[in-house]
C-alpha cells in the first residue's frame, strides 16, 4: 500500500540578501513537479538550515544565493550537515556563481549548482534523477 516515496526538499535562502523571487519560483516549480517543499523564508543562518533539514528529514537542500557569499555558505552548510549525520542529504542550489567557484564547490561535495537562465525543469530533472539513483543503488 505504501505509495511511491515522496521527495522532500528544503528550499533555503541563507544570509542577508533579500532577493527571494528565485527561491519562490523554484519552490513552486518543485511543488508542481510533485515534491514536498519546505520553505523557510529569508535570512536563514546555516545552523537554521541544517536544523530544519534534520528535523524535516529531507532528501535535498536547495539554497539560493545571490549575495556573492556562496564560497562561505555552501561549504559551511555542507560541513554542518555532515556533522549532524546528514551526509546522505544532497546539497544543491543556484544563484550568481562564477564557473570556477562552481567547480571548486563541487569538488567539496556540493551537488550541481544552477546559474541564471536555467529552466526550472533542469533542476527538477537533476533532483529526480539523483533521488532515483540513490534509491535503486
Amino acid at each position: 500500500m505504501s505509495e511511491e516515496r515522496k521527495i522532500r526538499i528544503l528550499v533555503a535562502k541563507p544570509g542577508l540578501d533579500g532577493h527571494d523571487r528565485g527561491a519562490k519560483v523554484i519552490a513552486s516549480a518543485f511543488r508542481d513537479a510533485g515534491l514536498e517543499v519546505i520553505y523557510t523564508g529569508l535570512h536563514q543562518t546555516p545552523e537554521m538550515i541544517v536544523s530544519a533539514a534534520v528535523q524535516e528529514d529531507v532528501d535535498v537542500v536547495a539554497m539560493s544565493v545571490l549575495s556573492g557569499a556562496h564560497m562561505t555558505l555552501f561549504p559551511r552548510v555542507k560541513k554542518l550537515l555532515d556533522e549532524a549525520g546528514a551526509d546522505h542529504v544532497l546539497l544543491t542550489g543556484g544563484g550568481i556563481i562564477p564557473e570556477d567557484d562552481v567547480a571548486a564547490l563541487e569538488a567539496q561535495g556540493v551537488g550541481r549548482l544552477f546559474g541564471p537562465g536555467t529552466p526550472t525543469s533542469a533542476a527538477i530533472e537533476y533532483v529526480k534523477e539523483w533521488f532515483s539513483a540513490q534509491n535503486t543503488a
Binding site: M1, K6, R31, E36, Y39, H43, M48, Q55
Partner: protein, 353 residues
C-alpha cells in the same frame, strides 16, 4: 507487552537510537510512519507502549488567521518554562501534482534553532480532515520521544475539517476579525469544537464586535442567553440557575467547561500568556471532570478502528484472488450480467471464506 511482528534489523537500530534521544532518529521514525514504510506499525507499537504522557494542544482555523505565528508564540512561552515542545504543522497537498509547499516554518524562525523545540511539517497527502493521514501517529512518536507539550497545527480549514478533535486534548480555534459574524459562529462544525476561542490580530477593526458575538453565540448554545453577560466575567444567571437545579442530585458533577473567548496579537505577543493560562485551566478541567480519560479512550478506540480499516484495505486489495474477481466482475458488469453489488458480494464472500 506482546510484539506484533518481528522487528527487522533496521527498525531495531532506529528504535535504539530513538530511545537515546537522538533527534535524527525521531525525524527518520516520522518519515517511516508518514510513508507507511515496512515495519512502521511495529515501530509505533514499541514507542506507544508507555502510553500518552504529553499534553496535546491543537490549533485550527481559517487560512491566514495566524495559527503558525500563534504556535510559535506559545512554543516560546513553554520554552521559557523549560518544557520541551514538539510541533506538527500540516499544509495541503495539491490534488493535481501531488506536491506541497510547506510554509509553516516561515513563522517559526525565532524558535528554529532551539534544541528544546522540534518542528515537523507534514503534507496532507490526500487526507481531507485538516490533518495528514498519519499526523496522529506522528504525535504519538513525539510523545514517546519525550516532549511534554505537542502543538498540532491543522491546515487552514473551513467549517467541516474537524479531525483535530481526535488528535488533541485541547482545541484552540483561531479566528480573525475578518472571519465573519455570529451567524457563522452559530453554524455547525468548526465552532462546535473549540475548547478555547482566540480572536487573533486583535488590533484590527471589528475584533471587539467578533468577541462579543462569539460570547453571545456560546451562551445560546449553553442555553444561558438570559443576559448579555460574558460567561467567565461576573455573574452568569443561566449558570447560577442551572447549579441550583442540580445541587441536590447525588452526583457531584463538575461544571461544564465555560469556553473562553480571548484576544491575541501573535506578532507582539499580546494575550499569549492568557492563552497559555486558558489552555492550562482547560487541562485541569479535563482531569477533574474525567474528560481526559474519556477523550483518551475515544482516541484509542478511533485508532484501533483506523488501523483495522487500513489493514483490511491492504489485505483486500493485495489479494490475487480479489484482483481476479474484480477483473472478471468488471467485464461482467460491462456485459450486463453483473452489477457492482454482485461483484462486491463475491469479493467479500471470498475474503470471509
Amino acid at each position: 507487552m506482546s510484539r506484533i511482528e518481528t522487528l527487522d534489523a533496521r527498525t531495531v537500530e532506529l528504535l535504539a537510537r530513538f530511545r537515546t534521544g537522538a533527534v535524527p532518529a525521531l525525524a527518520r521514525a516520522i518519515s517511516v510512519v508518514e510513508g507507511q514504510r515496512p515495519g512502521f506499525q511495529a515501530l509505533l507499537h514499541e514507542v506507544m507502549a508507555s502510553g500518552p504522557q504529553a499534553r496535546r494542544i491543537g490549533f485550527t482555523g481559517p487560512p491566514g488567521a495566524g495559527k503558525s505565528s500563534l504556535v510559535a508564540a506559545a512554543a516560546t512561552t513553554y520554552r521559557v518554562r523549560d518544557e520541551h515542545v514538539g510541533v506538527v504543522a500540516v499544509d495541503p497537498t495539491s490534488p493535481y501534482s501531488g506536491g506541497a509547499l510547506l510554509g509553516d516554518r516561515i513563522r517559526m524562525n525565532d524558535v528554529a534553532t532551539d534544541p528544546g523545540i522540534f518542528i515537523r511539517s507534514m503534507a496532507t497527502r490526500g487526507s481531507l480532515g485538516g490533518l495528514a493521514t498519519t499526523t496522529k501517529e506522528v504525535v504519538d512518536l513525539m510523545d514517546g520521544f519525550g516532549f511534554a507539550r505537542i502543538l498540532i497545527e491543522t491546515v487552514g480549514v473551513g467549517q467541516t475539517e474537524l479531525e483535530i478533535t481526535a488528535a488533541a486534548d485541547t482545541v484552540v480555534v483561531v479566528l480573525v476579525p475578518e472571519s465573519g459574524d455570529a451567524i457563522q459562529a452559530m453554524k455547525a462544525g468548526l465552532m462546535e469544537i473549540a475548547d478555547v476561542f482566540v480572536v487573533n490580530k486583535a488590533d484590527r477593526p471589528g475584533s471587539a464586535r467578533l468577541v462579543k458575538e462569539l460570547r453571545q453565540a456560546l451562551h445560546l448554545r449553553a442555553g444561558s442567553a438570559l443576559k448579555d453577560i460574558p460567561a467567565h466575567h461576573g455573574v452568569d444567571l443561566g449558570r447560577a440557575l442551572k447549579r441550583e437545579r442540580t445541587t441536590d442530585s447525588a452526583a457531584q458533577e463538575v461544571e461544564d467547561w465555560p469556553v473562553p473567548v480571548l484576544t491575541t496579537n501573535a506578532l507582539t505577543n499580546e494575550g499569549v500568556d492568557d492563552l497559555v493560562d486558558a489552555v492550562e485551566r482547560h487541562r485541569s478541567w479535563l482531569v477533574e471532570s474525567g474528560q481526559l480519560e474519556e477523550r483518551r479512550r475515544d482516541r484509542a478506540e478511533g485508532r484501533v478502528r483506523d488501523v483495522v480499516n487500513r489493514e483490511l484495505q491492504r489485505i483486500t486489495w493485495s489479494s490475487d484472488e480479489v484482483r481476479r474477481l474484480l477483473g472478471e466482475g468488471v467485464l461482467g458488469i460491462a456485459g450486463g450480467e453483473e452489477t457492482p453489488y454482485s461483484v462486491a458480494r463475491r469479493i467479500t464472500d471470498a475474503l470471509l471464506r
